[in-house]
């Protein structure tokens, strides 16, 4: 990563033009060329510094279900349960955290009704009680992550 990459990341976290030549437009603001911008984005994606270049959706507006849920998993069975949970295609990501509730995962389903069904399946398969903590309200945060 060089200073140019940092500038690209900082600038393009804030948005991207929706015009016929958006890379050219964004590149002008950054003081680089269109092909340079495209090439750097390819590099940053390939290196895994960016997970994606595209839209962030509002899941509920798309008609899908989304929630965060937690389990308490006994230490000795943790890896087995992690594998069981991660096998569900609806589990988007999963973190081990330092707490009595030590597994936290995000579930994204095609319909809101599927959330309860999948959580019940996870409960049955793992034998662990699922704590479902869906979003009630989202407070605005600045989306930019300044480097």
């Amino acid at each position: 990563m060089d200073t140019r990459d940092v500038a690209i990341i900082n600038h393009l976290q804030g948005g991207f033009p929706v015009t016929d030549r958006p890379y050219a437009e964004a590149a002008t603001t950054l003081g680089i060329t269109e092909s340079e911008l495209i090439e750097r984005l390819e590099y940053l994606l390939e290196k895994g510094i960016l997970s994606r270049f595209g839209p962030m959706y509002h899941a509920e507006r798309l008609g899908g279900g989304l929630t965060l849920a937690a389990l308490h998993v006994p230490d000795e069975g943790f890896d087995r349960v992690a594998e069981q949970v991660n096998c569900f295609p609806e589990v988007a990501h999963n973190y081990q955290r330092e707490h009595h509730l030590n597994m936290w995962f995000v579930l994204a389903t095609e319909t809101p009704a599927r959330i309860d069904e999948v959580l019940a399946e996870i409960e049955r398969k793992t034998g662990c009680r699922v704590y479902n903590v869906p979003k009630i309200e989202e407070f605005f945060v600045g989306l930019r992550f300044e480097l």
Binding site: G14, D20, A59, F139
Partner: protein, 178 residues
Amino acid sequence: MGLTARDQQLVAAIQCGLPLVSRPFAEIGARIGLSESETIERIQALLTDGTIKRLGVVVRHHELGYRANAMAVWNIPDDEVDERGRHIGAVDFVTLCYRRPRHLPDWPYNLFSMIHGQNRDAVLRNIEHLIEQCGLGGIAHEVLFSRRRFKQCGAHYIDSQPRQVIVGGTRIPAGGQP
């Protein structure tokens, strides 16, 4: 919900990312039978109505050197949660802030905030600042550091062929990151 079949196709076509070509919206449109200008118009409409929250880069915090993250959770009286949630969300190192339900007696916390930092100490310092800045001294809280990340690949809300949720190589943090 309100999405037309055409918008669903569009959402599916760009969910993995925009093509890295000079005229990406022309290429997207060509895949689903829209002109470039129609594609641009529909994407602008989806941004305006909030279906697309944002278009741009999605960073991997870990790969950028922000190796520690913690979920700081707070037990806030229900009648204060709106105001305090807004204050916490406005602090610059807080990357997510949600109200979520308690599960008494096991889980008394109703406000969740995500804090990133270059290491564990930096995260803890940020949480101390947060307590001071937002007057959270009297509020019960816990800090849940992450130890391992198993999956960060992300939901694909709409498959381009059958309508089902698939999970692929990229992450869509559609307001739902923990």
